[in-house]
Amino acid sequence: MSAAGTNMNCEQYKEAIAADPSESFDGGALHSAECSSCNVLKAEMRALDARIATALAIDVPELAMPELPPVTAEEKIVDLASRRPGKFTTPVWLALAASVVLATVIGVRMINPDIWDGRGTLAEQVIAHLDHEPRALTVTDVAVSDRKLYSVVRPAIATMDRDVGLITYARSCEIDGMEVPHLVMQGEKGPITILLMPKEMVDMPISLDGKSIEGVILPVGKGSIAIIGERGERMNEVETRVIDSVKWSI
């Protein structure tokens, strides 16, 4: 066959068309236009896909809607509206070479001191902890070492897939009297804080909602994971990646 003028050979095309019969991959249309055998293969794959689609479309029974419990505001949202970006920026952050610190998640302690009277709810403790370590929220492309990461996310606590994203901060912290890996991953909009809490059970996701940040504490097995990022971050995708990358050992 002749595939002159294309960047794809037949072997590459065969793999690609079996993965994506719509032929949306680069160079695919050009190759199949010039290669008759691959053009036939494309037609075969599309015919197979039509049969797969029909087979997958099983009958759907009539929906039995579950009884929906009332959801109170307290259950759904922990309000971070009082958080003010930039309230406590300090020059030392600007002095960090080749990096910028986002000053978005700071200031609760002074703005809303009443939540510090006791240990507070888990959500309050999570929010409080963000202020405790503002340097964690550095925008950087320097990843923490495997050694550092896995000394914090210890096998006795959890295993974590490094492919979850660019992790630039890792430290063992304490929340509610328990050791909690505190990680920061770089997102599209800025740093994303992740707190792995293997022993903190929550019944349902708890939203953390602020002017410039948003997040959630998700129930995961017998524990929970807090994920907090900049507003506008595609948090659903981040949550999926994080949840899928973590497995509790406890």
Partner: protein, 171 residues
């Protein structure tokens, strides 16, 4: 807005979400679990969880990925709780067999059984791509794997199906 109006709007938003996506939720759950009765349980749990965390869904265009993510987690929780054995195609329960009930179309039955027998890692991306119309990137995000791994699984899945059921003809 008073709270009863807010509650009504919330309920209406949820009902819209369910009416649009519950079929996809069920089919995804069914092909993940390979058992219609488990799929119904998983969807029920997923709907409850979606209801409770509806306010976390901020962009309607993300709704499909959001509900499918919830289904995926609920399915994982279900199997974590039940610790079910691997499905043996020759000893299906009545519920499992219902997915493979013979139709008047022999080719359809053959393809459905071949998909049913695929390993989970191959079947799931195929369902997401063909049935849900997900892109490779969306599948990778949902499954928590790299796009390259998605493509590898998809081409292996189709090649296995092709070996199993032949080229046949499009219906």
């Amino acid at each position: 807005m008073n709270s009863s109006n807010a509650d009504l709007e919330r309920r209406q938003r949820f009902d819209r979400l369910v009416s649009v996506w519950h079929r996809d939720m069920y089919r995804y759950a069914a092909w993940l679990s390979r058992d219609p009765s488990i799929a119904e349980d998983v969807v029920q749990e997923a709907l409850l969880r979606a209801w409770k965390s509806l306010d976390a869904l901020r962009e309607e265009e993300a709704a499909k990925q959001w509900v499918l993510t919830i289904v995926r987690r609920e399915n994982a929780r279900y199997f974590e709780r039940k610790r079910l054995e691997t499905v043996d195609i020759d000893n299906l329960t009545a519920s499992q067999a219902a997915m493979l009930a013979e139709s008047s179309d022999t080719d359809l039955d053959d393809v459905r059984e071949a998909i049913y027998k695929l390993e989970d890692d191959y079947r799931e991306p195929l369902v997401l791509q063909v049935l849900m119309g997900h892109s490779t990137k969306e599948i990778a995000e949902l499954m928590g794997i790299k796009p390259g791994a998605v493509l590898t699984r998809l081409h292996r899945a189709r090649n296995k199906l092709k070996d199993e059921v032949g080229e046949g003809a499009a219906t």
